[in-house]
């Protein structure tokens, strides 16, 4: 655990450094845009955040499919799915907020029924449902099965949403939202690319930690398993100890089964 900790610490520190550089370049070093003025600085965070949101949901879909596929089934995929979904939901919220601010600044409205905006909002709602479902199920196997099935169905729904919102927007929207800027300054391009690197590092760090948190929770539950079984048996002891002298043997005999149980949990 310690080696992986030092690795993730390095990842975290480099992510922080990259974000600091991004802020420095994005907020002061790079010049304002000819057309969009200072507002271009929002673009040094918003597109990268949105990409990380899609990456998170992509990881969730990947984890779910690999968990459902019998040959690759492993709790690791389920952990990856939950890590991707939760981090993706956070980035999705950030996307909606920054996008909304961009909309207010650039077009004068907080919200418009643009295809991408609508799709992102639907994605956010779907991810909240997915996470709520995960919280409602206790049994790890059922949780993994149900949530990966739901993730798969939701991924298919998102594909349909993509077409629906695109057609919907072309019906309703007649102004193009992203005007091509006539000239992109060299610094702007560099800063833009760097923001993807910085937020990518942040994203990776978050996913790794969320994954590890899930693993720790599983370990916590499986180690508590034996304690819980002993506690459960002790519930019956006051009655049985008086009536049955061999109860002690029952417990000893079943200790072996508890070990097997532990082995089984470890396997998982």
């Amino acid at each position: 655990m310690s080696s992986s900790s030092s690795l993730t610490r390095a990842l975290g520190i480099s992510a922080l450094a990259a974000v600091a550089v991004n802020a420095w370049w994005g907020l002061s070093l790079s010049p304002p845009d000819k057309v969009q003025g200072q507002l271009v600085r929002i673009l040094y965070v918003h597109p990268a955040v949105a990409t990380m949101c899609y990456a998170g949901f992509g990881l969730c879909a990947l984890g779910s499919i690999c968990w459902l596929w019998p040959r690759t089934r492993s709790p690791r995929w389920d952990r990856l799915a939950v890590a991707g979904a939760e981090v993706g939901a956070v980035f999705c919220a950030a996307t909606l907020i920054t996008g909304s601010i961009w909309g207010k600044a650039a077009w004068g409205v907080w919200w418009t029924w643009d295809a991408r905006l609508t799709l992102t909002a639907i994605l956010f709602a779907l991810s909240l449902g997915y996470l709520a479902l995960r919280r409602a199920v206790d049994n790890p196997h059922s949780r993994a099965l149900m949530s990966s099935a739901v993730a798969l169905l939701m991924a298919l729904t998102v594909v349909l949403d993509h077409y629906a919102t695109a057609w919907f927007a072309t019906l309703h929207q007649h102004t193009t939202l992203f005007k091509p800027s006539p000239s992109i300054h060299g610094w702007q391009l560099v800063t833009m690319c760097w923001s993807f690197v910085a937020l990518g590092l942040v994203f990776a760090w978050m996913v790794v930690h969320r994954y590890r948190l899930e693993a720790l929770e599983e370990r916590y539950e499986s180690e508590g398993y034996l304690v819980a079984i002993e506690a459960r048996r002790a519930e019956g002891q006051p009655v049985s100890a008086a009536a049955r002298p061999e109860t002690g043997r029952v417990l000893v005999g079943s200790a072996a089964s508890a070990e097997r149980a532990e082995a089984l949990v470890e396997d998982k």
């Binding site: 449902g129 409602a136 629906a164």
Partner: protein, 222 residues
């Protein structure tokens, strides 16, 4: 499988025939929703006519949620879901049966709501072919997705609130596409309604197939 589906659908419809929950509670609720939409738009008639397809499908969405919840509350009220799990019925058959029962109730409800839209909002129905086709296909989609997620939630904590949270965003493409198809059919938009029918058909196909395959696993797990 079809025999099992017929058995389950028959049972669900027979229960509805006696309890009349859809007729006596869900249908009046849907009409009240329409009425409230009317109040909310403050008698702005042109706007209401424009918005009628969207309001209609929102009302269908709300009452569809209730129909799905009812469909699973008859199973969980007295533990009958265990009897279903222990039966020889094929899960795909149970799924199709419940979808058929929910869809049948929704179709009746939609007819009533369409009447309500005509009376309350003074919409003029037209484009019958597209209207009927899109309504039937989206009803199949709503019922299939509803029963799939209803089965998922049947044994869970806080299922009454979890189901709407899960199902509403999932039904977003149906509400969008069905509304646009209706708008095209009623001549309110220039769009090609049959293209929206394609999305509705894809949605229904995905959820009918996914539900039929996964239903066994979904009612298993609690």
């Amino acid at each position: 499988m079809w025999r099992d589906a017929a058995l389950v659908a028959g049972k669900d419809l027979r229960v509805e025939g006696r309890a009349k929950v859809a007729v006596n509670q869900v249908a009046p609720y849907a009409l009240v929703v329409l009425l409230l939409f009317g109040f909310a738009f403050d008698q702005d008639r042109p706007l209401l006519v424009q918005a009628a397809p969207g309001l209609f499908w929102m009302a269908v969405l709300f009452s569809g949620l209730l129909a799905v919840q009812r469909s699973f509350s008859i199973e969980s009220a007295d533990g009958a879901i265990d009897a279903l799990r222990l039966s020889r019925l094929e899960p795909a058959g149970i799924f199709i049966g419940k979808v058929v029962a929910v869809a049948a109730q929704l179709v009746v409800l939609e007819a009533l709501l369409a009447f309500g839209v005509v009376v309350l909002f003074q919409s003029r129905l037209g484009g019958a072919g597209l209207l009927v086709a899109s309504t039937l296909v989206s009803t199949a989609g709503v019922a299939a997705a509803g029963v799939a997620y209803g089965a998922l939630c049947v044994g869970l904590r806080a299922r009454e609130t979890l189901l709407p949270l899960l199902l509403s965003p999932v039904l977003a493409p149906v509400v969008l596409a069905a509304t646009e198809a209706w708008r095209a059919a009623l001549g309110l938009s220039r769009g090609d309604g049959w293209r929206w029918l394609g999305i509705l058909a894809c949605f229904a196909a995905i959820y009918l197939a996914g539900g039929a395959i996964g239903f066994g696993a979904l009612i298993e797990e609690t």
